[in-house]
């Protein structure tokens, strides 16, 4: 309460200078990032911040340089998303120049950086425990995973532990491809695996592109009801998939990407205003979204999703009031 009050005061004190946030994005393609960005944009508008977006199109090298470019424009705060170690030097430079840095799901090794994250471990725990519950810890499982992608690696660590704890779960095959047609090509692989392993009853696909592919594979082989898909993440397209009658993709553990973006922007805003205090990490807790609920409440888009799963919205994290009220 008190913190928010000060925020309003300072905004009122010098109304002209809106907060300039340089958003240095690793990539804006793909539904997750797209919706994340949507959320960030809307939130920036709401709280009256100015968002300048750099898009590295998935190229780490470009993102590093973008941080450098951003520093040159002297923003009030730099928000990086999904960045890897490489940006560290430039992030340090920014911090040294007195520009606070907030990272979303980023790997930046500097104590001064404020981290916002959707905890991959939590996501993975939530969905795997659902899997364990549904199968009573006894099932043949196809696992979709490609090593080398940090979030997937973190989600994988949890699954490794779950397997140890539940000897009844047998991972009979590991599949996965990551490229522009991830869903499609994962589908082909899952189909092949399902052919080779007819006793499989669950597919763990802790990434929505994998999950979509797995669902398509089960659909095309007509194994609906026999094989269930457990996923992670959500998007408009994912909702359509989950909501389909008899969809094999029955549950997904997720945060709301738009909410993630909003939280990140708010945190950056507060960091710029130096109102975060000692907070160095902001973690967005995940929610389990199930097809049953989506069908029941006839949800078709992310914006409606929050009405069915209010826990997806985390306004209490780094709260900032509307610009109008400020």
């Amino acid at each position: 309460k008190t913190r928010q009050a000060t925020a309003n005061e300072s905004a009122n004190a010098n109304g002209e200078d809106t907060v300039n946030i340089a958003l240095v994005s690793r990539g804006t393609q793909g539904d997750f990032l797209n919706q994340w960005l949507d959320g960030a944009n809307k939130e920036a508008k709401r709280i009256g911040a100015n968002l300048h977006i750099y898009d590295a199109k998935g190229d780490d090298n470009q993102q590093i340089l973008d941080v450098q470019s951003a520093i040159a424009t002297k923003p009030d705060v730099i928000l990086v998303d999904h960045s890897l170690e490489g940006v560290t030097n430039n992030v340090k430079a920014a911090l040294d120049a007195g520009i606070p840095v907030v990272g979303f799901d980023s790997v930046v090794n500097d104590d001064r950086v404020v981290h916002v994250s959707q905890s991959d471990a939590d996501l993975s725990k939530l969905i795997t425990s659902q899997l364990v519950k549904d199968t009573n810890g006894k099932a043949e499982v196809i696992y979709a995973y490609v090593a080398g992608f940090a979030p997937l690696d973190r989600r994988n660590a949890v699954w490794e532990k779950v397997k140890e704890e539940n000897p009844g779960l047998k991972q009979v095959a590991q599949v996965g491809v990551v490229n522009e047609a991830t869903a499609q090509q994962t589908a082909e692989q899952v189909k092949a695996s399902l052919q080779a392993n007819p006793n499989v009853t669950a597919v763990l696909a802790p990434y929505d592109e994998f999950a979509k592919g797995a669902a398509q594979a089960v659909d095309e082989l007509g194994l609906n009801g026999k094989v269930n898909v457990y996923g992670v993440d959500i998007s408009d397209a994912d909702i359509a998939e989950l909501k389909k009658d008899n969809s094999p993709w029955i549950a997904t553990a997720t945060t709301d990407p738009a909410n993630d973006g909003a939280v990140s922007v708010r945190t950056a805003y507060l960091a710029a205003k130096k109102q975060l205090g000692d907070t160095k990490t902001v973690t967005v807790p995940p929610t389990l979204v199930t097809g049953d609920v989506l069908r029941e409440k006839d949800i078709t888009s992310l914006s409606q999703l929050v009405t069915a799963f209010p826990s997806l919205r985390t306004d209490d994290l780094s709260p900032v009031e509307d610009a109008a009220k400020q």
Binding site: Q29, V175, A181, A196, E220, A237, T300, S303
Partner: protein, 329 residues
């Protein structure tokens, strides 16, 4: 002696293919089931259709690098027509095919009228079209129930449209039938029709073809238009199977289609773009991926095996044995 060499040259790749199939069949009981055969055929259908288009462009000594982006465009157009505009399967298919043909004609026109080298022109088209298909949906993927930029959806996928992706005719998936049909048509077109023959003449010696009375420019544009048409058809099948318009899905089909068409050069020792070879090329990769996945070979090893096998196939087909035909340099 020489005859054996010729046989290896002509049938080496096919033999390798058959060997591979036999091996997988014996090693894994699930591989040879009818269902799995269909799974494989379905998995290569989009690649094969796109690759057949690329083959046509190669026939006139061109190279449709824009094919992948046309797949993306077609996916976006066909899904957006239904979801954003609320129109049915027929207009969706029509618009998608039309967009493919238009891009093809555009590329062809750049080549013929603006005299831009083939690859360069196709690259230009590719970039422009890649951008265009993103703009259609403001960079988002198109899915059921979601209209343009947050607006409510005006329609839903037409069942007839989805049938293209999931329907069967006498238990055979429609996409497989479509692939075979397109393969046969392209083969007949290139080998047995006047237009196809003239296209191949252009591909081999443009100037000679022109002086023998061929309207070279028109045929080159036509070849790209056909390539665009088939790429768009591939996009439609993809969109119908997935029931969703994913951004940029097409780009990964470009490389696969090129591989298939190039492997096809080696089939029957054709040493030139040919429809049958292209389909075999697509199947070759499809069977390999399917078989390896069945053996639970990790993804990163699969790529290596795929690459190594491709190289071996090429060496068997092109080296030494091939020499008997050509001057030794």
């Amino acid at each position: 002696m020489i005859d054996i060499k010729r046989v290896i040259y002509k049938y080496g790749l096919l033999a390798l293919f058959v060997l591979m199939v036999v091996f997988f069949w014996i090693a894994s009981p699930a591989f040879g089931t009818t269902q799995n055969v269909f799974v494989i055929l379905q998995s290569v259908s989009v690649t094969a259709i796109v690759a057949l288009g690329v083959t046509v462009s190669m026939a006139v000594d061109g190279f449709d690098m824009a094919a992948g982006s046309i797949v993306s465009l077609s996916v976006m157009v066909s899904t957006a027509t239904q979801i954003y505009l609320g129109l049915g399967a027929f207009p969706a298919i029509l618009f998608a095919l039309l967009s493919g043909v238009l891009v093809g004609v555009f590329t062809g026109a750049l080549i013929v009228f603006a005299k831009i080298p083939d690859m360069l022109a196709a690259l230009g088209s590719m970039f422009a079209i890649q951008g265009l298909s993103l703009i259609i949906t403001a960079g988002k993927s198109v899915s059921k129930g979601n209209g343009y930029n947050g607006a409510p959806a005006k329609g839903d996928f037409d069942d007839a449209f989805l049938w293209i992706g999931s329907g069967t005719v006498f238990t055979v998936p429609f996409s497989v039938i479509l692939m075979i049909l397109v393969g046969v048509i392209v083969a007949v077109f290139l080998e047995r029709t006047r237009t196809g023959r003239l296209m191949r003449a252009i591909g081999s010696n443009r100037e000679a073809a022109r002086l023998a009375g061929t309207h070279v420019g028109a045929y080159r544009i036509l070849a790209y238009a056909l390539s665009g048409l088939l790429a768009a058809l591939g996009g439609i099948v993809l969109a119908a199977r997935v029931g969703r318009g994913d951004v940029n899905v097409g780009s990964s089909y470009l490389l696969e289609a090129i591989s298939a068409a190039l492997i096809g050069f080696a089939v029957f020792g054709a040493n030139r773009p040919n429809a049958f070879g292209t389909v075999v090329g697509a199947l070759f990769v499809g069977v390999l991926v399917n078989g390896l996945t069945m053996f639970n070979v990790p993804y990163y090893t699969q790529d290596f095996v795929k690459g190594t096998l491709l190289v071996i196939a090429l060496v068997v087909s092109f080296s030494k044995i091939f020499n008997t035909q050509q001057r030794d340099r």
